[in-house]
């Protein structure tokens, strides 16, 4: 039978853990608000650039951009967006599972994979799993600067330009609501052509100032960058939401454990008292 001192110690240690998790829950809740705001602020730009890109796709352009071109694929690159810190439930691991299964699927078609990783968790995971890593961006913080991602995006796009890769996928968590985050693997390159263009072939084209090639290169690069940036800030919001839920569950679990241990503590204490009493009574009657 456990003695009362041991049980008391255990209760104290769980209580201090509970204090930490509940503090982390509150921190995550306040950060979640901020990261959600950042996510919403970034949305108009990504929506508008998406509109422009879909117009460009419809135009009968004098310069067909390589991002639209379907090449015979030999290698694909996965841009994986993860969090820098853990303690956020299954958020990262669910995403990695999807990435691995997609990569295995491509492998069956004879397409190799390489990875460009954002976030400490992704780089740690792919270091242990193995796989060719071409670029890493870590420790971007709660308010990532778009400039910090340009380098990584450039590595991927340059590889595409040099035919090092033929496809690119963007893997990140989509924010549905506070309770739900949806891991997504989305094809970046080749850009999926708009369906309308087939039924209604367009005759018009833009006036380009200065050159079509230069402009479209710049615009499409910016588009890919904006998608990656949007994925990162959305993933941040997901991380904080998932962390809040995970910490809330941990706090609740700690509460349950404490209740059980307190019951055990009272039982043990009562048993000790009863035993002592019966010893005294037994001793007295023996005298």
């Amino acid at each position: 039978m456990a003695n009362t001192k041991e049980v008391r110690k255990q209760i104290a240690s769980i209580k201090s853990t509970q204090k930490i998790t509940s503090a982390m829950e509150m921190v995550a809740a306040s950060k979640m608000k901020k990261t959600q705001d950042t996510m919403l602020e970034g949305r108009p730009y990504s929506l508008k650039i998406k509109d422009v890109i879909s117009h460009v796709a419809l135009a009968n352009s004098e310069y067909p951009h390589p991002f639209y071109e379907e090449r015979k694929s030999k290698k694909a690159c996965f841009i994986v967006v993860s969090s820098d810190k853990g303690l956020c439930g299954g958020l990262n691991i669910n995403l990695f599972k999807q990435v691995i299964s997609k990569s295995a699927e491509l492998n069956e078609q004879g397409i190799d994979s390489c990875f460009a990783l954002i976030g400490t968790k992704a780089s740690a995971f792919f270091k242990s799993v193995g796989g060719e890593v071409i670029a890493v961006a870590e420790k971007l913080g709660d308010k990532p600067n778009p400039d910090d991602l340009i380098g990584l995006t450039k590595v991927v796009l340059d590889m595409h330009k040099n035919s090092g890769i033929d496809q690119a996928y963007l893997c990140s968590n989509g924010f549905v609501n506070t309770m739900t985050q949806q891991p997504n693997v989305e094809q970046l390159i080749p850009l999926a052509p708009e369906e309308q263009s087939e039924s209604n072939p367009s005759q018009w084209d833009y006036i380009y100032e200065p050159e079509a090639k230069e402009l479209l290169d710049g615009l499409l690069t910016r588009y890919i960058e904006s998608l990656v940036y949007q994925a990162v800030i959305e993933n941040n919001a997901c991380e904080q939401a998932a962390k809040m839920i995970a910490m809330k569950n941990a706090t609740d679990n700690a509460g349950d454990l404490i209740k059980e241990l307190e019951l055990l503590y009272n039982n043990v204490r009562q048993a000790a008292i009863t035993q002592e009493l019966s010893e005294i009574v037994g001793g007295a009657s023996a005298v």
Binding site: T38, E41, G42, K48, D51, V52, E209
Partner: protein, 137 residues
């Protein structure tokens, strides 16, 4: 009077969305005036003001580069950073210009020359926007 829809967005926020009878912007190849029904156009933006005219009202924004797309009924400005011209602070702009000039003048240090000259161009454009606005008032 016919109008054209205009949206100005930067990577961190939506700056302006509304109707206009005329839009003026600084393209990489020079000043542009866009009236409703303009032919489709795609151009880069140089640092400078974007002015939105609606009847007699006019609003100005500072834009430090980006892209401009024109459809016959829609203008989209994808700005790297844009701010309302009223919020431009002249002293801040002058300070930025001085810093950029200083960085340009000591070339032998490790400072990136291209970056410094881009900063200078931006600071000068910012000042121009402010001065243009001043003149009108």
């Amino acid at each position: 009077m016919s109008t054209i829809k205009i949206n100005i967005v930067s990577s961190s926020e939506e700056i302006y969305s509304g109707e206009a009878t005329m839009v003026f912007a600084t393209g990489t190849l020079g000043e542009l005036g866009i009236a409703p029904g303009h032919t489709p156009l795609l151009t880069g933006l140089a640092p400078g003001p974007v002015r939105v005219q609606n009847g007699n009202e006019e609003e100005a924004f500072f834009c430090s580069g980006g892209f401009l797309e024109v459809q016959p009924d829609l203008v989209t400005v994808l700005s790297d950073t844009a701010e309302r011209a009223e919020s431009l602070d002249e002293s801040e702009a002058i300070k930025a210009k001085e810093i950029a000039e200083k960085e340009l003048s000591n070339k032998d240090t490790s400072i990136d020359y291209a970056k410094a000259s881009a900063q200078l161009a931006e600071a000068v454009a910012r000042l121009k926007t402010i001065q243009k606005l001043r003149k009108k008032q």
